[in-house]
Symmetry: C2
């Protein structure tokens, strides 16, 4: 066993080379409740519902600014929102993105899961089907994955599967990778491309940035915080190293092109770049984008930040390059 | 002015998902002398010469393992080594790489500057001309850049300039970017592609990972250490924000494809990803590779580490994809 490196306390200034809006996100204190989370099913459910209600004004304002319409519905028995921009880009007429929200498998039900769908619809001119998958305590692993695959397959049944892109962040970033692993297992056609944002690709507490960025990332804060607890709540006793829960351990041969997004302060920086290396080891087209000073998911917070336009511009370009027309 | 984030002391274990050889590099103590460096010209010269002598056995062993021949010489008045693999890959027959070594503009004279040239020659099957540029106290800014451009132009004069690739790490990673900026200024033809490893792209102490990875990166350790002092010694009073010293401030429109390499613990992580963002803002083809747990330049230390084969495999593939044949 090698000797650990002892790192002294330090003071991190907010970088001045990022936009004022991003500086405000970076300057925010550590997320309230990062180390004080529910220990009952009902407690998690209430936390998720409170978060949903709190998110509504932001979701609605973002939809209005981006000119997006949101239609709730059901596809094959799964709750979804269909997210449509005022103008679908001509080259995207036959394309659909399936969006799988984040929130540690427990948070962001309903409209709270929509910001990423709004951003890629707005900045990319894509039609998006956002999956409002079942979460604990309603249902446990692999319910989220089952729901995501069900909706994806239903959307893909209408035409060329390579016209479908998958997009997700955090738990959703892991789920889009797990969907491709599940497709391999079940002999389903691959999507045309995948956008995996700061994926929870390893929930076994493995990854160097769990240590280097502990207390640096002001969103997730620590691997001993709420997000790991929530992921274990979802796993419900299942082996955390199962590739359908920790996709970095999956066999990624045959994957479609993947774009990965993270930030230098992200607690999941390592688990984003480990997925990148794994994909590249199989020769998969895989683009990595790392944004200065950003913690977990900061790039998807506010459509008014230029870094958000930049990140979703990259993702849109990637889909336009790699999805079938 | 935003409130800085206060980060407590912590203990960093060595990641177990990387190779044993890489674990040994990551487990090494902070570089000896990181905060105890010369304050005289003669002191720097002696330090560089001592480093050269100490590096010789490693350089010779690496050349032997990789089957590389090394020929010292002069091109247009500049000291070079021509580095030739036992077998030049057929598709590289008409291609040449110009390698610009790192060492904070002061270290790695002579053979000590050759490891990166050996690695790309060996793993990629390329002929490489390694530039042994003048360093302080022999000569100051912009002597290193002048020498690098002189050799490059002399090599490029023989044929299609797009068959030439530039490769460098650290100070060399900055110099290859500065060479392209100089070429734009002087109306010279661009190279076919550039490999910039963990570039010293900003020597004005700007970059978030100067804070987040301080005392985490066991090679550079701190922006208050030897490397910044050496860069200021080279700059010799010149404005540190000049794009030819801090290329992140340069206009990168019209650059050829660039591959960037860094590690999650790299003190220059931010200044690598900031270059990536800048290139992408101009629509330049730019690939970013970030390796798990690695500090500054760890990927280029030892040809026997699989991560080194992986990193130079990526760089070789990039050159083969983007250089003219």
């Amino acid at each position: 066993m090698a000797t650990p490196l002892e790192i002294p306390a330090r003071s991190l200034p907010v970088p001045e080379t990022v936009s004022p809006g991003m500086q405000a996100l970076i300057a925010a204190p550590l997320r309230l409740g990062w180390n004080n989370f529910p220990n009952t099913s009902e407690g998690w459910r209430r936390l998720a519902e409170a978060g949903r209600v709190a998110a509504l004004p932001n979701v609605n304002a973002m939809a209005e600014r981006l000119g997006i319409s949101i239609e709730p519905g059901m596809i094959a028995g799964v709750r979804v929102h269909t997210v449509t921009p005022a103008a679908i880009a001509p080259e995207n007429r036959n394309r659909t993105l399936v969006q799988i929200h984040g929130g540690c498998y427990v948070l962001n039900p309903g409209e709270a899961g929509l910001p990423e769908a709004l951003l890629i619809a707005g900045f990319g001119g894509f039609r998006v089907v956002a999956v409002d998958y079942r979460m604990p305590p309603e249902a446990y692993f692999p319910a989220a994955l089952d729901d995501a695959v069900t909706v994806w397959q239903s959307v893909a049944a209408d035409g060329d599967p390579r016209r479908i892109g998958l997009i997700g962040t955090s738990a959703g970033g892991a789920l889009v990778l797990a969907m491709a692993l599940r497709a391999k297992r079940d002999g389903l056609a691959m999507p045309g491309a995948i956008a995996s944002g700061t994926p929870m690709s390893d929930i076994t507490k493995t990854g160097d940035s769990f240590h280097t960025n502990a207390m640096v990332d002001n969103v997730l804060v620590s691997t001993d915080g709420f997000c790991d607890a929530a992921a274990r709540f979802y796993a419900n006793g299942h082996d955390l190293a199962d590739p359908l829960l920790s996709p970095v351990y999956g066999d990624m041969a045959g994957f479609p092109p993947v774009i990965l997004t993270t930030g230098t302060r992200d607690l999941l920086l390592s688990n984003t770049v480990r997925v990148h290396r794994k994909l590249r080891a199989h020769g998969i087209v895989a683009d990595l984008h790392v944004y200065e000073g950003q913690s977990h998911g900061h790039y998807g917070r506010d459509d008014r930040n230029p870094e958000t336009a930049e990140a979703f511009g990259e993702i849109a370009t990637f889909f336009k390059t790699h999805l079938a027309g």
